[in-house]
Subunit: 397 residues, 2 copies
Amino acid sequence: MLEKNQTAFLSINENFSVNPRYDEIHGGNIIDYGYESGIIDFSANINPLGLSPKASEILKDFNKLKFFTENYPKNYPEPFVNALSFYHGVEKQFICEGAGASELIFNITARLNPKNVIIVEPSFYEYERAALSKLQKSKIFHINTYLSENFELKEKSLSKLINCISENIVENDVVFIANPSNPAGNITPLQTIIKILKKLKEKKAFLILDESFMDFCEDFSAKHLIAGTSLDDKKLDGTYKFDNLIIIRSMTKFFAMPGLRIGYAFAKPFLAKLLSETSIPWKITSLSEQIAYLSICDDDYILRSRLLIKELRKDFENKLKKIRFLRIIPGSANFFLIKITNESLNAKNLKNYLLECGILIRNCGNYRGLNDKYFRIAVRKKSENDYFISRLKKIKF
Amino acid sequence: MLEKNQTAFLSINENFSVNPRYDEIHGGNIIDYGYESGIIDFSANINPLGLSPKASEILKDFNKLKFFTENYPKNYPEPFVNALSFYHGVEKQFICEGAGASELIFNITARLNPKNVIIVEPSFYEYERAALSKLQKSKIFHINTYLSENFELKEKSLSKLINCISENIVENDVVFIANPSNPAGNITPLQTIIKILKKLKEKKAFLILDESFMDFCEDFSAKHLIAGTSLDDKKLDGTYKFDNLIIIRSMTKFFAMPGLRIGYAFAKPFLAKLLSETSIPWKITSLSEQIAYLSICDDDYILRSRLLIKELRKDFENKLKKIRFLRIIPGSANFFLIKITNESLNAKNLKNYLLECGILIRNCGNYRGLNDKYFRIAVRKKSENDYFISRLKKIKF
């Protein structure tokens, strides 16, 4: 396989594609509609408060922006990593910075080079792409969660996952789980995470836990399972130090900076250091680092965001539940996975109709384990959520 | 080796380091001295005109900057790639965008996965780091150029390179050459490049030509050797289509945007597509793409930069040549490699002395094939160059 891939470079007609059109596989392509299009983007799950006000001050400082542009970034963004360490109560040597969660997903997958990869579905498409973009492609196993279990990882799906690990996983293989999940938005409890970690540790294999949406419900983070710190008050189990756990975090969602490409990972120090040392230099721009640093230090903004989004979610959920042709999947994140229950409507039609109203939603028809009856929407500002509801109410069958 | 590397992840005490402190291996760490330090950075080779005035207008538009921050970037920066295609006269399918030249160096090296890598020295440290950061480390051969040949790749060094290719290079292996070279700043003529390409083609191996400084002397670019277009008027050889040539270009130097991380590569379409499809999504931020696009379209700025830097270089060179304890290596780029000929001074002492004068230079003592008598300085604005000269004149032995 390696040989075949390598020699392929000199033959020009080789066919290879793991990169379908992005407007079809991710939300958040509002930029393709143009700046000032006025379209309300419910397709990307970004904090409706937008950027931290303290952080956005930098965007008014022309001289600083010019300095950041005309000079090299720091190679190691120490102030940001220090701030993360303080924010999470996790020591610095467990933290590895990245140019967005995606860069970390690709870098970690390439570095571990697993023979087999299990992905709990429906989930983020980039896990699969990272596993297929490697020089030696991984074999991928998809474990579905079920509508009958509200797409939670439990009972039927959990037992399938454990069986799949037993049967297929070998040393250095990888299981990907998003927690909260995406697009379903529900939480896998720590007890379940620990059960999976133990099973994987027997095999010397890794769990990559994508906590990109965890800032919205921070209490459920598994971050202290790596270092084993700060858990004295709520012991779940005798063993906390899981050196086979890698957690990926994003600044994109909660801190509203998808355009800046910055994220980080928690991992055992050897691995965090290795990932940092084998990645490209200057990978985080100075502007990204500064804005991320100021955002993570903006306690007031963080607190306000958590409270407000919780409130907005509750209000929006209550209103959505009153729409007869929708079934809202219960979840905990800043977005909703919704199933259309009326036979004459699908997500594609709904997306087109709403686009005419200036609203962009995420058609979930191309997620594994879902179909054209599913769509995902973010919790946005109250006026925007209400406008969304008002447009739905206009639909008559 | 693969097995050893892989199993290493579960043992915490493994020792691995290919990432020495960056302030020691690269120039341009002015940001570590702090914003508004006032230090004049001769250590990074950036266009002294700074950012294109048309491009820098964006940095004054708060609403646009906020939009770029709070929304996902385009996945494929089509306007920028179109502009590059027009600027270079190279068709789009030969162009692959990257998050800086370094990202491309790492991505290409990981993808080709060469068993053996030859680096023409002294050169950019990241070629070596990319080859050593791979899962399967390459064996590296360093081919030195010589002071007696003004560090040009010719005669003695060229014959050593050709021999090294004959003896060691196998299919999919790689030779790295920077053209213009860095830190010496001289040009390897197209005839020599073609000779090397032919030799490598016999072996089905690749030449990665780093043209990061080529915008300063665009006529010498090998870009038309890949597509075979636009060369009708100056035929050098019967064969132009070298599908084993990969050219790396940077927006960092000539367009003065090291902080934004954007570059591109020219390669045969299959490889350009493969590199693009197997790399991380959203890797270029919206701000970087917009500024790069506007810069490459700013004809007036490009022309002015070329003329001005040529003039500044000539003036600076004449003045430097009058300093008795310096030997200026002849070159063509926007910087000088200089040897200190006085026995009682070395580059480290000189760097410390100049730092007290508010000037940062690049000590070249840690480049392969150089020693602590060498340093590199950029061509900057006339007043800054003159200030530099005035500080040198103060040195008495």
